[in-house]
């Protein structure tokens, strides 16, 4: 994969810090020498004059052609990307090449992301190895160049190439259980409906009525009672699930990574089961995807998830209110959040008040923090933990089941925890 290569980038020259002082010393000394009639003053300025003469040999714009190629356009979190930078220019230059990586990509020690070459001539090639640290759609780095002629007093600096766009997918977590949607739709699926109909799950036994299928006859009950009895079944239907992904971040990527893995795992398994899955991102820029099913929905969901990942590090505030969000009344809302933002609590409470079934999985990334450095740090973390507990309690008070998700078995613990809580408190909306 490579970024589109075009015309060479014309870098304008910028003066170095030495240029103006050298000029000032030279002009000042020559003026003083002439005015005072002291030839010795010129001798003081001669080294600076010489440096000016040599340093301004090369002026004007510098054409630099550069490309950044990588070996893949799609990869998983944590995967390595290998690529190559090619830089070309004319004449000998002291050259520094730097790869600036976006938030989602990081350098991999000991592989360099900066190279410095004195008096080099082009073209040059540099191997690059980066690691995908955060899911989302990211550019594979930017190539920046800083060049100066040997002894030069001018610097040419700027971005000369941008890498191709990469799709970094969240790591896969396997799920073997589903959450129960609030109300099943009349589309075949694997969820057990509350009402009785055609299906495989036994619901009740009742006397035969005209119209019942003979295949539903329960021969044992019929023989015991002396009249025909039939089995009734729950229909197996599909449901609607809306995954709410809170991408507010404190600058660390661990919570985001865990949230994305859980969201993707939950969404994938529900899509596979025939459910309609939607996605709402709360974060820098909010995004929504209406619930849909099938293969196409899976790709749309992935694209939306990647776009959220790209927005994730943007912590700019936004001004939307929850009632604008398109959450179907029959959908189960699963919010994956770190609870760093108090507004997320308000949104969940609001959805609940509007009759939606809401469940919250709180992503705890406390294990990703470095050990506390001081007693103040310990107290601050304790206070923060209390605040998070208070927010959890605010959710639980309105009947929203809340589970805390640690680092291991993430998505499984979300589903298991919510199902367990759902039995005791219900994940279904009160109607």
């Amino acid at each position: 994969m490579s970024a589109p290569t075009g015309q060479p980038t014309m870098l304008p020259p910028r003066r170095e810090g030495r240029l103006l002082p050298y000029l000032a010393i030279v002009i000042g000394s020559l003026v003083v020498a002439v005015l005072a009639g002291q030839p010795a003053v010129v001798a003081f300025a001669v080294p600076f004059l010489l440096a000016l003469g040599v340093g301004l040999v090369r002026t004007g714009r510098l054409p630099v052609t550069a490309t950044l190629t990588v070996d893949t356009s799609q990869l998983l979190e944590g995967d390595l990307i290998r690529g190559e930078i090619t830089v070309d220019w004319t004449g000998p230059l002291d050259l520094e090449v730097l790869v600036r990586t976006p938030n989602g990509l990081v350098g991999v020690p000991p592989y360099p992301t900066r190279w410095a070459m004195p008096a080099a001539t082009g073209p040059l090639r540099f191997p690059v190895v980066l690691r995908a640290a955060l899911w989302g759609r990211h550019a594979a780095g930017e190539v920046w160049v800083r060049a100066r002629a040997p002894h030069g007093l001018l610097v040419w600096q700027g971005r000369v190439a941008t890498g191709p766009s990469l799709r970094v997918l969240p790591q896969v977590e396997r799920l073997n259980r589903l959450l129960d949607p609030a109300e099943s739709r009349t589309v075949a699926g694997v969820h057990q409906a509350r009402r009785i109909g055609e299906g495989y799950e036994f619901a009740e036994l009742r006397p035969y009525e005209p119209g019942d299928r003979l295949r539903d006859l329960n021969w044992g009950a019929t023989a015991r009672h002396g009249r025909p009895y039939v089995n009734r079944h729950h229909p197996e239907l599909s449901g609607e699930v809306v995954v709410v992904l809170d991408t507010y971040t404190d600058g660390t990527t661990e919570v985001l990574a865990r949230a994305a893995r859980a969201a993707w795992a939950i969404a994938s398994v529900h899509l596979q089961a025939g459910d309609r899955v939607g996605l709402i991102g709360l974060g820098g820029g909010w995004r929504t995807l209406h619930p849909a099913g099938g293969e196409r929905a899976k790709y749309q969901l992935l694209e939306t998830l990647l776009a959220m990942g790209a927005d994730a590090m943007d912590t700019a505030s936004h001004n939307w209110v929850s009632h604008r969000l398109p959450v179907p009344e029959s959908a189960l809302v699963i919010a994956l959040t770190s609870l760093y933002q108090r507004s997320v609590v308000r949104f969940c409470q609001d959805w609940r008040a509007r009759g939606r079934a809401v469940a919250v999985a709180v992503l705890d990334a406390g294990d990703a923090l470095p050990p506390p450095a001081s007693a103040t740090d310990v107290i601050a973390r304790r206070l923060w933990r209390l605040e998070l507990d208070r927010r959890r309690a605010a959710l639980a008070d309105v009947g929203i089941p809340v589970v805390t998700v640690g680092p291991g078995g993430l998505a499984r613990s979300v589903v298991g925890g919510l199902r367990r809580l759902g039995r005791s408190r219900t994940v279904r909306a009160a109607r």
């Binding site: 030495r18 050298y22 030839p39 010795a40 010129v42 003081f44 300025a45 010489l50 003469g53 004449g91």
Partner: protein
């Protein structure tokens, strides 16, 4: 701050200190307090330029000029050229130290970079002494002669460097 950058910055600071100390020690006594203030300012500007903003190192050069020019009041005017070279070398070392910023692990000391700076300083010293000699030998038309010699030196350097760059 890497080891190489620290060494280069220390060398640069030493150059400024040495130039100012020499100028103060060998300069005229009557203007010494004023020159000392300039030297202290130069020292502060050099430290600031080395640690915080490289483009502020020029202030250290400009502040060092008065103590150096104070030598005109003595019979040691030949020292102006070497002092200029010393300050020039300090400025080059400062620029070099800033080039090492963010370099990560210390790269090997590039021999040709040292050679290049040494050659420039050596040529500068020779040219400045030559200019002084021309001025001293022709006292009647000294200023004009030195002025012409200095400009001629810069032009020749520029032409040679340009030819070298094209080659």
């Amino acid at each position: 701050m890497t080891g190489l950058r620290l060494g280069l910055a220390a060398g640069s600071l030493t150059g400024v200190v040495a130039a100012n100390a020499l100028a103060l020690a060998l300069g005229p006594e009557q203007g010494r307090p004023l020159f000392a203030i300039c030297a202290v300012f130069a020292l502060g500007a050099a430290v600031f330029g080395l640690l915080v903003r490289n483009d502020r190192f020029g202030l250290a050069l400009l502040a060092s000029a008065p103590p150096a020019l104070g030598l005109l009041a003595t019979d040691r005017t030949w020292l102006l050229g070497p002092l200029g070279v010393l300050l020039f070398a300090a400025a080059e070392l400062c620029a070099w130290s800033w080039e090492q910023r963010g370099a990560g692990a210390d790269p090997a000391l590039p021999a040709h970079r040292v050679l290049r700076s040494a050659v420039l300083c050596g040529v500068g010293l020779a040219a400045s002494l030559l200019c002084y000699a021309v001025g001293a030998a022709h006292p009647l038309a000294g200023t004009a002669a030195v002025f012409a010699a200095a400009l001629g030196t810069a032009v020749i350097a520029w032409v040679l460097a340009r030819a070298g760059a094209r080659r």
